[in-house]
Amino acid sequence: MNNNVATVLQITDIHKVLGGKEILRGVSMTVDKGELKILIGPSGGGKSTLLQCINFLLPPDQGRIFLDGSEVHFHKKAELYRYRQQVGMIFQDFNLFDHLNALDNVSIALRKVKKIHKAEAGDRAYHELERVGLSDKTDLYPAELSGGQKQRVSIARALAMDPKVILLDEPTSALDPELIGEVLRVIVDLARSGMTMIMATHQIGYVKSLTNEILFMENGRIIEHGPPEKLLSADADTRCRGFCEMLKDLVREP
């Protein structure tokens, strides 16, 4: 690991039980500034639960989380809200606010949470929508947007908060195949511009060149991790490679 790079997020030994089932059984990871970590693995393996535990949408039963070296005490509401402002979240099914147009979806948290003046928040929101290629859709409501456009609005919404890290929970899994590309392009741009991200995805082909670590999760644990060339090389005897080969056969991606 590069010692010159600052650690943004560190999580240690996260455990979570949901509905009597142990979903996470001790997950740890360290995310450095500018890094893109890829979470991969079969459904039910705990990827989504882990991401929701990281910003405490699901409070972990055990384990600690550090942002920029200081521990997050999620039981203190003010600290939790401040932490969440710095940790963006992209959901599989977008979760745009259905009663607000694209611009207000992006600006509402700026206005309500960060207490930024309406005009200034609107400018910022417009800038972020421009960044994801939607400057001509600012007045449209979620129901008037395609899935790919909705997901790009949700990325703009997260970016507007100036997050230190963005968590992406299978951002392209709910999209029609022809819409996946436009969302992935935005994510690739973000990664290249140095945004720190943790992404759960099955779209491994597009992003493996941008990541230096893939984490393979199964049964609530990270069972394999390493650079893609190690985990996915033709002669690698890893669960990860087997899984990715199977995905490749299913979706025929590069």
Binding site: L57, K77, R84, M89, F91, H99, A109, S154, M161
Partner: protein, 231 residues
């Protein structure tokens, strides 16, 4: 006196009752709205004691007839308070039947409205609150800015239904001597013996009021409709 002149003669007097009826209904619906929304929020997002208390409230006011509640509040509770204030503090207060009608109909409507809003809140995708929380919003801010603006829109058709029920139930308030449509009609009819035309007139007035209110709420529903959704 024929039916037609009976109606013409009684019309100004009975029409004054429509203002009283409208007052009871607006008072009850607003009271029900103000109490019903927090109750719905409490029932969906509250802790166990809050959910329990809302549950008991709803169970009680849905389970007791309006007529019983009107007598209970006007003669029982109001009478008790009046006597206590007079004998204890020398304060003379007279609660009006109109106040009793508004309060009772409002408390009953709050029980029904809370269930309308609860259903509307629960109809929203859970991701809405998650996304708001993920942006750093507190629960109360998320409920105010994200959940309720959507839930209240969804609730308008059911709320319109509740309005039409409350409007017609308001006729029961005549038993306390409130000077609304029904009481005035009853007063005239029992003196002129023109029961058939006068009660028909009362029915028509209720019909017109219901029609106007439902129409206005339908207009509101269209006005606040979120673009892109059907209807």
């Amino acid at each position: 006196m024929d039916a037609f002149t009976a109606i013409i003669d009684a019309l100004p007097y009975i029409l004054k009752g429509t203002a009283v009826t409208a007052g009871i209904v607006i008072g009850a619906m607003v009271l029900g709205l103000i109490a019903g929304i927090p109750m719905a929020v409490g029932q969906v997002y509250g802790n166990r004691p809050v959910r329990f208390m809302v549950g008991v409230y709803v169970w009680f006011f849905r389970g007791v007839p309006v007529l019983v509640l009107l007598f209970l509040v006007y003669f029982g509770v109001f009478g008790f308070i009046e006597i206590k204030l007079r004998s204890g503090y020398g304060i003379y207060i007279n609660f009006s039947p109109f106040m009793a009608a508004c309060l009772v109909m409002g408390m009953v409507s709050a029980a029904y409205q809370s269930q309308i809003f609860r259903g509307a809140i629960q109809a929203l995708p859970q991701g809405q609150l998650k996304a708001a929380s993920a942006l750093g919003m507190s629960d109360s801010m998320a409920i105010r800015t994200i959940i309720l603006p959507q839930a209240l829109r969804i609730a308008i058709p059911a709320w319109s239904n509740e309005f039409s029920i409350v409007l017609k139930d308001s006729a029961v308030a005549f038993v306390l001597g409130t000077t609304e449509i029904m009481a005035r009609t009853h007063f005239v009819a029992s003196r002129t013996y023109q029961h058939l035309p006068l009660y028909l007139l009362a029915g028509v007035l209720y019909f017109i009021l219901t029609w106007m209110g439902v129409k206005a709420l339908l207009k509101l529903e269209h006005k606040v409709r979120i673009p892109g959704y059907s209807n």
